[in-house]
C-alpha cells in the first residue's frame, strides 16, 4: 500500500491497469466518511463553546444557572432514543423489518419529546430569571442547548428519510447504512449532551472542569 510518507510519486507504475468499471453505486463509504468529517467539525464547535464557558467560569462574578430538574428527564429520553436506534441497527442487520420500523419511529417520537422537553426547560428558565439574560451562565445555557437542539432537529431530517426507506423497502438490510449513520449521529449527540449537561448544567462543577483542563 502506498502511503503519503514513503511513496516516491515520480516512479511510474509498470504494466497496464484495467480500467475502472462504470455504472456502479454511490459509495456507501463516502456517506460515512462525510458523517465522520461532519462530526469532527461539530466537535470543534461544541469544544469552543465549552472552553468559552469554562473560561468565563474563572471570573469572580460567576453565578451558575438555577437548577432545572426537567433536564434529568430530558436526558433519560435522549438516552432511550439512542437505545432505540441502536436496537434498530441490530435488527436491521438481522433482517427483522417490522422491528426496525418500530424502533425508528420510536426513536423519532422520543427525540421529539426531548426537543419539546428542552423547550419547556427554556420556558422555566426564562421565568426564573424574569427575562434578564445578563447572567452569563444563563446566556451560555441557552446557546449551548439551543445549538444542540438544532443539531438534533437536523438529524430528524435524516431519520425521516430512513423511516421512509424502511417502509418502502422489503429488504431491510439494504438500509442498514442509513440506520447506522443515524445511530452514530444520535450516539454522538447523546455523548455531547452528557458532557455538556454533566459538566456545565448539573451544578457548579467548577473544580471538576478545572481539573479536567489541567489547571489544578
Amino acid at each position: 500500500m502506498s502511503n503519503i510518507f514513503t511513496e516516491q510519486p515520480w516512479i511510474a507504475d509498470t504494466g497496464p491497469l484495467t480500467p475502472a468499471l462504470s455504472g456502479a453505486q454511490i459509495s456507501v463509504n463516502a456517506r460515512r466518511s462525510a458523517l465522520k468529517m461532519l462530526l469532527s467539525v461539530v466537535s470543534v464547535f461544541f469544544l469552543l463553546m465549552i472552553v468559552a464557558y469554562g473560561g468565563r467560569m474563572l471570573y469572580q462574578d460567576w453565578r451558575p444557572t438555577p437548577q432545572i430538574n426537567l433536564l434529568w428527564g430530558n436526558t433519560g429520553v435522549l438516552l432511550l432514543s439512542s437505545l432505540c436506534l441502536q436496537a434498530a441497527l441490530l435488527w436491521a442487520r438481522a433482517g427483522k423489518a417490522d422491528w426496525v420500523r418500530g424502533a425508528l419511529i420510536g426513536a423519532g417520537i422520543l427525540t421529539v419529546m426531548f426537543l419539546a422537553g428542552q423547550l419547556a426547560a427554556w420556558q422555566q428558565l426564562i421565568s426564573m430569571v424574569l427575562g434578564d439574560f445578563s447572567n452569563p451562565a444563563v446566556g451560555f445555557f441557552f446557546m449551548i442547548t439551543g445549538i444542540h437542539g438544532l443539531h438534533m432537529a437536523g438529524g430528524m431530517v435524516a431519520l425521516m428519510r430512513a423511516i421512509k426507506r424502511a417502509f418502502s423497502q422489503s429488504d431491510i438490510q439494504s438500509i442498514e447504512h442509513n440506520v447506522s449513520n443515524c445511530a452514530l449521529y444520535w450516539h454522538y449527540l447523546l455523548g455531547v449532551w452528557l458532557l455538556v449537561f454533566g459538566l456545565l448544567f448539573t451544578g457548579n462543577n467548577f473544580e471538576v472542569l478545572l481539573k479536567i483542563c489541567g489547571f489544578i
Partner: protein, 590 residues
C-alpha cells in the same frame, strides 16, 4: 492497497471504491440553475463571487478617493467611510476569495484532476451554492436597512460593533452576522463534498501523492475551513445574542452615550480569540489554494517538474496544522495577557519556515527550466514578487515587539493586501487564463490579456509599496483623514493621492479582464483540448469543454505523478498522467 512493485511483472492496482452513479438533469432549470454538475456549480460560484467582488472593488475606490482628496467628496462622510472599509474587507476575504478558490476552482478542478465524474454528493453541492447565494443576498441587504451596513471593520470587534457610535450597530450588524452564519453552513456542506471526493473518489492509480498540488492546496484549505469556521459561527451567535437578548458574552459593564448599559461581566477579548482562531486559518484558506495552483502553473509553463513535490505537500499540511496555533499574533496589542506574546511570536515565526521552503521550491522549479513567458507564467512571476514582499513584512508583524510600532497602522494594511489580496489574485488571474481554453474551448484575446497583466502587476505594486511607508511613519488604519497631526509631513497626503491614482487605474484594468473573459467565450479562436501540453487529467478529457461525466465512457487510469515534464529519454517534453509506462505518448498508449 498494496505497495507499488517496481519490477517487470504487470501489476493491477484495484479501484479503491466503486464508481459513482451520475445524476442527469432533464429540465433547463435542473441543468443550468439547480445544476448538480460540479462544473456548472463552479461557474455559478465564480460568477457570484466576482460580481460581489466588483462591489467591494468600487467600495475601495470610495475609500481611496476620501484618503487622497479629503474634504472634496460630500457623499463620503465618516460613517459611510467606515461602512465601505468594513464591507470591502468582509466581501473580499470571505465572499470573494474563499468562495472563488474553494467553490469556484475547487468544484471545477477537483473532480477532473482526481479522475472522478463529479463530486460525491452532487445534490448537496447544488444546495451549497444556493446557500452561499443567500448569504450574499443577506449581506447586500445590509446596505439598504436603516442605519446602513455595519461600520465596525471586517473584524467586527465588540463592544463597539453593537453600540451606538458605530454605523449599523442595530440592523446592519445583525444582517452581517446572519449572512456569515448562512455562509458557514453553505461552506460546511461544500467542504464535506470537496474533502470526501478527494478521499474517496480518486480514480484507479491516483494515489494521494500523485495528485497535482492544486488539489492538495484546495483540499487542505477545505479541511482548515471546516475546522476554523465553527469559531466564527460561535462568535457570531454570541454577538447576535448580545444584541437580541442583551446577554453579556462580550459586553462588560459600560457607559454608552452617557448612560449605563444593561450588560455586565462579558469579555471583549473572548470575541477576539474566537474570531482570530477562525481568522488566521482563514488567510491560509485563501493562500493554500493559491500555493497549490501556482505550483502547477509554474511547472507546466516552465516545462519542468515542481521541485521537491513531497516537501511541497508536507509544507502545505504543516502550514495548515500550524495555522491553528498562531492566531494571537493579531492580538499583541489587544490587552490580552502580554505573556502570550512569547508563545505566539515563536509559533508565527516557525510557520515562516515551511512557507519559505515553498518559495524556494517555486524558484528552483524555474532554475534550469524551459520557461515560456505565457500569460499564466507572467502572473505566476507576479505572484512570487508580491508574496515574497508580503511574506517579508509578515516577519516584522509576527515578531511581537517589532510589530508594536507598526500595529494598527497602514503597514498592516499594506502587508495583508500584498500577501493575501494581490498575490492570490495574481494566481486567480493566471489560473483563469490557464484553464480558460479548457473551460470555454476558446482562446482569450492575447493583447487584452497582456495589457491586463502589465497594468495590474506594476500598478498593484505601486499601490501597496508606498503604503508600507505611510504605516512606518505612523499613519493609523481606518482613519477617515490624517490631517491635524503634528508629526506627519504634508507629503504623506501626496503619497495617498498617488496610491489612489494607481488604484483607480488598476481597478479599471480589471474591467478589461472581465470584458475579455466574456467576449472571448463567444468569439474567441477555438482552442485545442490540451494547448499547454499539460499532464494532469483535466487536460486529457474526451471533449473540450468537458461534458457531463467528465471523461466519457471510461474513467482514466493513472500510472504516474502530474509532473513528468522533460523526462530524459522521452521525445515529448511531457507525459500525461494516464499514459502507461514504456509508451510515452497518449496516442501510442491506445
Amino acid at each position: 492497497m498494496e505497495h507499488i512493485a517496481h519490477d517487470e511483472t504487470s501489476f493491477v492496482r484495484p479501484a479503491e471504491v466503486g464508481e459513482m452513479e451520475l445524476y442527469h438533469a432533464k429540465t433547463w432549470l435542473g441543468k443550468y440553475v439547480f445544476s448538480q454538475d460540479a462544473k456548472t456549480i463552479a461557474i455559478q460560484y465564480a460568477a457570484t463571487a466576482i460580481a460581489i467582488g466588483m462591489v467591494a472593488l468600487v467600495l475601495s475606490w470610495v475609500m481611496r478617493l476620501q484618503l487622497a482628496w479629503p474634504n472634496t467628496f460630500a457623499f463620503i462622510d465618516p460613517a459611510y467611510y467606515l461602512q465601505a472599509v468594513t464591507m470591502h474587507g468582509m466581501i473580499m476575504v470571505v465572499y470573494l476569495l474563499t468562495a472563488l478558490f474553494l467553490g469556484g476552482f475547487g468544484n471545477y478542478l477537483i473532480p477532473l484532476m482526481v479522475g472522478a465524474r463529479d463530486m460525491v454528493f452532487p445534490w448537496l453541492n447544488m444546495i451549497s451554492f444556493w446557500v452561499y447565494f443567500t448569504a450574499v443576498v443577506l449581506l447586500a441587504a445590509s446596505f439598504f436597512v436603516g442605519g446602513g451596513s455595519t461600520g465596525a471593520g471586517w473584524t467586527l470587534y465588540p463592544p463597539q460593533a453593537i453600540l451606538p457610535g458605530t454605523p449599523g450597530s442595530e440592523a446592519g450588524i445583525l444582517l452581517m452576522l446572519a449572512s456569515l452564519a448562512v455562509f458557514i453552513i453553505g461552506f460546511t456542506m461544500g467542504g464535506l463534498n470537496y474533502v470526501v471526493t478527494v478521499l474517496q473518489a480518486r480514480t484507479r492509480g491516483m494515489t494521494l501523492m500523485r495528485m497535482p498540488l492544486t488539489v492538495w492546496g484546495i483540499f487542505v484549505a477545505t479541511v482548515l475551513a471546516l475546522f476554523a469556521f465553527p469559531a466564527l459561527f460561535v462568535s457570531a451567535i454570541m454577538m447576535a445574542l448580545d444584541v437580541l437578548l442583551e446577554t453579556s458574552f462580550f459586553m462588560p459593564a459600560i457607559m454608552t452615550m452617557g448612560n449605563e448599559a444593561n450588560h455586565v461581566g462579558g469579555n471583549p477579548l473572548l470575541f477576539q480569540h474566537l474570531f482570530w482562531f477562525f481568522g488566521h486559518p482563514e488567510v491560509y484558506i485563501v493562500a493554500l489554494p493559491a500555493f497549490g495552483i501556482v505550483s502547477d502553473l509554474i511547472s507546466i509553463h516552465a516545462r519542468k517538474n515542481i521541485f521537491g513535490y513531497r516537501m511541497m505537500v508536507w509544507a502545505i499540511i504543516i502550514i495548515g496544522a500550524l495555522s491553528f496555533v498562531v492566531w494571537a499574533h493579531h492580538m499583541y496589542v489587544s490587552g490580552m495577557n502580554p505573556y502570550f506574546g512569547f508563545f505566539f511570536a515563536t509559533t508565527t515565526l516557525i510557520i515562516a519556515v515551511p512557507t519559505a521552503l515553498k518559495v524556494y521550491n517555486w524558484v528552483l522549479t524555474l532554475w534550469q527550466g524551459n520557461i515560456h513567458l505565457t500569460i499564466p507564467m507572467l502572473f505566476s512571476i507576479a505572484f512570487l514578487l508580491f508574496f515574497i514582499n508580503g511574506g517579508m513584512t509578515g516577519l516584522f508583524l509576527g515578531n511581537a515587539s517589532v510589530s508594536m510600532p507598526l500595529s494598527d497602522t497602514l503597514f498592516v494594511v499594506a502587508h495583508f493586501h500584498m500577501v493575501m489580496a494581490v498575490a492570490p489574485v495574481m494566481v486567480v488571474c493566471g489560473a483563469i487564463y490557464h484553464w480558460y481554453p479548457k473551460i470555454t474551448g476558446r482562446w482569450y484575446h492575447e493583447g487584452m490579456a497582456r495589457f491586463h497583466f502589465w497594468v495590474t502587476f506594476v500598478g498593484s505594486y505601486l499601490v501597496f509599496l508606498p503604503m508600507h511607508y505611510l504605516g512606518i511613519m505612523g499613519v493609523p488604519r481606518r482613519y477617515f483623514e490624517i490631517t491635524g497631526t503634528t508629526f506627519l509631513p504634508d507629503s504623506a497626503q501626496a503619497v495617498n493621492a498617488s496610491i489612489t491614482i494607481a488604484a483607480l487605474v488598476v481597478g479599471f484594468a480589471q474591467l478589461v479582464f472581465i470584458y475579455n473573459l466574456i467576449v472571448s467565450a463567444m468569439n474567441g479562436k477555438k482552442a485545442p483540448g490540451n494547448p499547454w501540453n499539460a499532464t494532469s487529467l483535466e487536460w486529457q478529457t474526451e471533449h473540450t469543454p468537458p461534458q457531463h461525466g467528465n471523461f466519457g465512457k471510461e474513467l482514466p487510469c493513472v500510472y504516474r505523478w502530474a509532473y513528468d515534464f522533460s523526462v530524459p529519454g522521452v521525445e515529448d517534453d511531457f507525459i500525461p498522467q494516464n499514459v502507461p509506462p514504456r509508451t510515452t505518448t497518449p496516442e501510442a498508449a491506445s
